[in-house]
Symmetry: C2
Subunit: 110 residues, 2 copies
DNA sequence: CCTATACTTAACTATATGATTAAGTATCAG
DNA sequence: CTGATACTTAATCATATAGTTAAGTATAGG
């Protein structure tokens, strides 16, 4: 099993634990948006939206760039893949038909 | 895109955002463990461990059963798959080389 | 230049999270 | 029965999270 920086998965999963941030990711997946544009579809203040954007940016799921008086947000899926890999490895190993056998072999060794 | 209960993904991602809980999931993946057994490998109190176990149980990632004075925890990967599906769909759509084309086609339809 | 827009920063608030200690309950071992 | 083990519950605490309002800065348009 590949070992990732503990804090990276913390941040990625933490960021995705909020429905607003997942909506933003979904929205940005379809194309770049300014902070105001993300705000339009949310029932919260621009300041609150900006904070979510900053959290997504800090964990690398999105990047932002200032253009004139707007800040444009874009989706960057690399960190999603790290989280997805963790889930896939954690789940697929277990799901494997060899699960029981593996248990047996490990106990045999110790 | 399949739509899941908003709160389910909240809880699953929230549960996985903590390194202790990810360790427990990894540990339980290898076989059932009692709360004390999970506690042995953690630098925290049994009470703290139990709380993490309860969080994992509430979101369905594990189940627990009382046996005598011990509580045995077992891994249940179904909810992992829901989270994994969300990530895969969110990422793969974007990663696709057809991303730009897909955007164009969707705009064309509307 | 002036004004509206689009952030940005600061201060504050309420609730959630992650941990603790202390005290209680239930069961297994002798 | 008695004591140790394995939770379980309750009270508490510090910090983080998710939001708010208010005030400030910077830029596009007239």
């Amino acid at each position: 099993m590949i070992k990732y920086q503990e804090t990276e998965l913390d941040r990625t999963f933490g960021a995705l634990a909020d429905p607003t941030r997942r909506r933003f990711v979904t929205e940005l997946r379809a194309g770049d948006r300014t902070v105001s544009q993300l705000c339009e579809k949310s029932a919260m203040s621009l300041v609150a939206v900006l904070k979510h954007v900053q959290i997504l940016e800090e964990c690398g799921l999105i990047r932002t760039e200032k253009r004139g008086r707007t800040r444009v947000c874009s989706f960057h899926p690399e960190k999603l893949q790290h989280a997805e890999s963790w889930l896939a490895e954690t789940r697929s190993f277990w799901t494997s038909a060899l699960h029981g056998l593996n248990d047996f072999l490990q106990e045999d060794k110790s």
